[in-house]
Each structure stands twice: as structure tokens, then as C-alpha cells.
């Protein structure tokens, strides 16, 4: 077994070797600019991009013309939200999102607030889920956009996207979903799921980093966006810039494989997750699984190990590559905004670790990881004054911690 064991598949995934093989010629002999119309180098680039567009569209049930290539989901989110807000801002100034979104959505929403938009941030239930009823209650006559994550990147909770999409269509409000973690992990059908805009990212589904796609619906309704990057008018004017042909080829190949192997991948990761959760919860007391157990991405679990602090725990399992939450926010010492929004107390949020299982993860790795976690948690609980108090029957919540800082 090769150490450390990678269990952070929500942060990124390795490029599948089949994907890499497809990409390589487009760095060297097939290096043409896909926008060059006057020679064979350009034609082969364009052909490759159009093939990839079909593969990407195929994964999500879209038509190739509805795929706008981006640099990844952060760009897709910015383009979808700002592009829609600018295009439809004269119709209304109200946007609905939630407190458990990725920072890219939350920061874009804050940006739009400064531009004069009003944003409603829905609070999820304890499991991180937003209900159709919540959206219905928040909708106003001037609502132009609902932006909600499909599969949460920290806890894996799946929102009822199809139902929320249906509501948005009934009310003539655009519906954007951040499908970064969901695409390639669960079935996605933008038509049946009533989605108008959806972003995905290559490196989350065994494709390369720096490339992603935004689905932009073309009929019922036809969605128009104001470009956020001006230039040569690539991507039907929605996203200028020379196309990253090798990256796009990689994204296309990754999407095709993800589509073919969707059920197999999901069954594989879910079995590993169950195995891991069962081992850990059997061996340790005061362990809590975060997120919606019934409606969850198959490859993700987020576990609170009460009375043990997360950073010290990660330090204690140096043979495991895991995270205490989003890679994008782990530079800060604040507990996860997602767990906070779910009403998980700061104390428990500080004790939470996210585990992600992937295509190449093995049972032996999962067993090793579970044993490492059990050992580290047990050791740190020996060191924990809180665990000691609990063993003595003291209610920690009843203690006045006001001397704290």
C-alpha cells in the first residue's frame, strides 16, 4: 500500500490515464488553435473541441450547443450569476441562494449585493438540505435567479434539485445549480431536472484542472448571459479566450468515462464509505455523521469526532490525506461555514473531518484509514479534558466558558 492514502476526492481527483492519453497529442502535433479556420491545424482543434462538447453534454443530458467551456467552476459560477444578473437585472433585483454554498457562490452573491441586488440566503435544515417550500416562501415578484448547490462539497448533502427547478420554471425564475460535486457522481439530466444553468469542473471527475463547463439552456427558456470576459467572441460570445484544446479534450474524455462508469463508480465508492463509517462508528463512541444520510453524494462522508479537535486529529493521521472541510477555506482557522449553517455547534464543527473515496480507493486502504482514525481519536481523547469531563458525567454545555477567548 502506498502512503499517504488519498481520501480528499472532493478537493480534486487524479487525471484518469485514459483521459491523459486522449489529451497528449493536443499539446504537441495537434496544437492548432481551434479558432483558426484557414488550415488543418485549426480544423483538427475545432473538431476535438466539438467532440468534447458532445461528451460533456452527454453526461448531463444537454445539447452540445448549450455547453460553454470555462476554466472551472469558479468561473462558471461567476459567469452564470453575474451574467444572468446583468442580463435580467432590469426585470428584478432579487436573488435566492443558501448559506451552505461554496465560497465562489457566496462571494459572487456578495459582489452582486454591492451592485444593488438583494440576496436571500436560505438556512438549511440540520442535514444541510434546502426544501422546495423554503424556496417557494423566499420567491418574490422581483426574483430573477435561484442559485443552489446540488451536492455539497463538505458534507455531501443533495438538494432536491428537480423539485426546486420545477418550482422555478413554474414561477419563471432562472435556476442555477452548482453541480461541481454532483456531475459524474449521480445521474444528471438538465431537462428532467429543470435546470437552466449548471457548472461543472474537470478536475473533480478525473479530468484536468483549469477546465470546466457551464450549461446554458437554449430553449424553454432560452437563457442569455452577459459575458464576463470580452474578446474574440469565443463560445458564442459568452466566454472569449483561445480555447484550451488539450484541457477540453481531457474534460470531454473524463465526462464520457464518468457517464459510462457512473453506476459502477457510485456503487464502488458507496460500499467503501459504508465500510469506513461502520468501522469507525463501531470502534468509537461520541461520533456523529454530518449531512443528509438519505440524500447524499455516494463518495463523501463528513464525521464529527466529539471532544477531539480537527486540526490535531489531521496531524495525528499523517498517512491519510484528508481535510477538515473545503480546501478553499482551510487556510483559515474558522470552523466550516457549512456545518455552522446546519446548526452544528462550533465545538463539534471544530471536530469534523471530511473523507472522500474515489475510483482507485481500495478496501485495504479504507481499513487502514479507519484504523488510523480510531487510533488517533483514542489517543487524543486521552489528552482531551472535555472527554475526561464527559467520562466523569459532567455536562460540558452547562459549564461557563466565559473565561475563553
Amino acid at each position: 500500500m502506498q502512503l499517504p492514502i488519498y481520501l480528499d476526492y472532493q478537493a480534486t481527483t487524479p487525471v484518469d490515464s485514459r483521459v491523459l492519453d486522449e489529451m497528449l497529442p493536443y499539446f504537441t502535433e495537434k496544437f492548432g488553435n481551434a479558432a483558426s479556420r484557414s488550415h488543418a491545424f485549426g480544423w483538427s482543434g475545432e473538431e476535438a473541441v466539438e467532440k468534447a462538447r458532445k461528451q460533456i453534454a452527454g453526461l448531463i443530458g444537454a445539447s452540445p450547443k448549450e455547453i460553454v467551456i470555462t476554466s472551472g467552476s469558479t468561473e462558471g459560477i461567476n459567469l452564470a450569476m453575474k451574467g444572468a444578473a446583468e442580463m435580467y437585472g432590469s426585470k428584478g433585483k432579487h436573488i435566492i441562494t443558501s448559506l451552505v454554498e461554496h465560497k465562489a457562490v457566496l462571494d459572487t452573491a456578495k459582489h452582486l449585493e454591492k451592485e444593488g441586488f438583494e440576496v436571500t440566503y436560505l438556512t438549511p435544515d440540520r442535514n444541510g438540505r434546502i426544501s422546495v417550500e423554503q424556496v417557494r416562501e423566499a420567491l418574490r415578484d422581483d426574483t430573477i435567479l435561484v442559485a443552489l448547490i446540488w451536492g455539497n462539497n463538505e458534507i455531501g448533502t443533495l438538494n432536491p434539485i428537480r423539485e426546486i427547478g420545477a418550482l422555478c420554471h413554474e414561477k419563471n425564475v432562472l435556476f442555477f445549480t452548482d453541480g461541481t460535486q454532483a456531475a459524474g457522481k449521480i445521474p444528471v439530466d438538465v431537462i428532467a431536472d429543470n435546470i437552466d444553468l449548471m457548472c461543472l469542473s474537470g478536475h473533480k471527475l478525473y479530468g484536468p484542472k483549469g477546465v470546466g463547463a457551464l450549461y446554458v439552456r437554449r430553449r424553454n427558456p432560452r437563457v442569455r448571459l452577459v459575458a464576463q470576459m470580452d474578446g474574440g467572441g469565443h463560445e458564442r460570445g459568452m466566454r472569449s479566450g483561445t480555447l484550451n484544446v488539450p484541457g477540453i479534450v481531457g474534460l470531454g474524455a473524463a465526462c464520457e468515462i464518468a457517464q459510462q462508469d457512473l453506476e459502477k463508480d457510485a456503487a464502488h465508492t458507496m460500499a467503501l464509505r459504508t465500510r469506513f463509517e461502520e468501522k469507525v462508528t463501531k470502534a468509537l463512541d461520541h461520533v456523529h455523521i454530518n449531512g443528509d444520510i438519505e440524500n447524499r453524494l455516494p463518495n463523501c462522508t463528513n464525521i464529527s469526532f466529539n471532544y477531539v479537535e480537527g486540526e490535531s486529529l489531521i496531524m495525528g493521521v499523517k498517512d491519510l490525506a484528508v481535510s477538515s472541510g473545503s480546501a478553499c477555506t482551510s487556510a483559515s482557522l474558522e470552523p466550516s461555514h457549512v456545518l455552522r449553517a446546519c446548526g452544528v455547534g462550533d465545538e463539534l464543527a471544530h471536530s469534523s473531518i471530511r473523507f472522500g473515496f474515489g475510483r482507485k480507493t481500495t478496501e485495504a486502504e479504507v481499513d487502514f484509514a479507519a484504523d488510523q482514525m480510531i487510533t488517533a481519536v483514542s489517543r487524543l481523547r486521552e489528552l482531551s479534558p472535555l472527554y475526561e469531563m464527559v467520562q466523569e458525567g459532567i455536562d460540558i454545555a452547562s459549564i461557563d466558558w466565559s473565561g475563553g477567548h
Binding site: E309, G310, S312, M315, P385, W401, G403, G404, H405
Partner: protein, 130 residues
């Protein structure tokens, strides 16, 4: 985040982990921090005459917090109560090469020492007056 070798050493081999009898009049207990802040330190001292003859700790917190409290117990053992009162958090920062975001761990360790001493003094004061 990269930890210094000394932090790693204290994290992997923490000194003086455990608990002393908090009911004893010769034992002072300090509990500082708060669970929602991600740090709670419990530091205990046993005093004979005016000298700290034993010290124990338990810490809920990051590696730097564990190291700061482990180091604190190491330093105060054998010192007089007055000498232990002189330990400054900056000395802990220096010894463990703590980065700026972890300075609060050293502050907490200093607070824990002072809190344990205050508890001991309160107890022994009561005893003498009684």
C-alpha cells in the same frame, strides 16, 4: 501548515499528560479556553512548600495548543510558584517557533499556569486562614 520539530515532538510525545486529584489542597487546577473556540487546556500543579513538584495537563486543541501546554508543564515542574508566575507566552512562542496564527495557544498556556496557581493559592490561603 508546517509544524516545527519541537511542536511535532511534543505532539507525538506529550509530557505530563494526566490528572491530579483536584480535591486535594496541595493541587491547583486551571481550565482555560472554550470548546467553541477550538481550544481547552486543563493544567494542574501539585505544590510542596512553595515548589511545584508535579504538573499534569490535558488539552483539546490543535497541535500547537497541545505542544504549548506540554511545554508549560515541563517548564514549571521544579520551579517555585513565584518563578512559574514569571513564565511569559513569548518564551513559549520562541521555544516552539509558533507562527503568528498560533500565538493564542501560547497565551492560553500562560493563562493556564496562572489559573492553576491562582486556584492553588485560593485553596491554601483558605486553609491557612482557617
Amino acid at each position: 501548515m508546517a509544524y516545527s520539530d519541537k511542536v511535532l515532538d511534543h505532539y507525538n510525545n506529550p509530557r505530563n499528560v494526566g490528572s491530579l486529584d483536584k480535591q486535594s489542597n496541595t493541587v491547583g487546577t486551571g481550565v482555560v479556553g472554550a470548546p467553541e473556540c477550538g481550544d481547552v487546556m486543563k493544567l494542574q500543579i501539585e505544590v510542596e512548600g512553595d515548589r511545584i513538584v508535579d504538573a499534569k495537563f490535558k488539552t483539546f486543541g490543535c497541535g500547537s495548543a497541545i505542544a504549548s501546554s506540554s511545554l508549560a508543564t515541563e517548564w514549571i515542574k521544579g520551579k517555585t510558584v513565584d518563578e512559574a508566575m514569571q513564565i511569559k507566552n513569548t518564551e513559549i512562542v520562541e521555544e516552539l517557533s509558533l507562527p503568528p496564527v498560533k500565538i493564542h495557544c501560547s497565551v492560553l498556556a500562560e493563562d493556564a499556569i496562572k489559573s492553576a496557581i491562582a486556584d492553588y493559592k485560593a485553596k491554601s490561603g483558605e486553609k491557612k486562614e482557617g
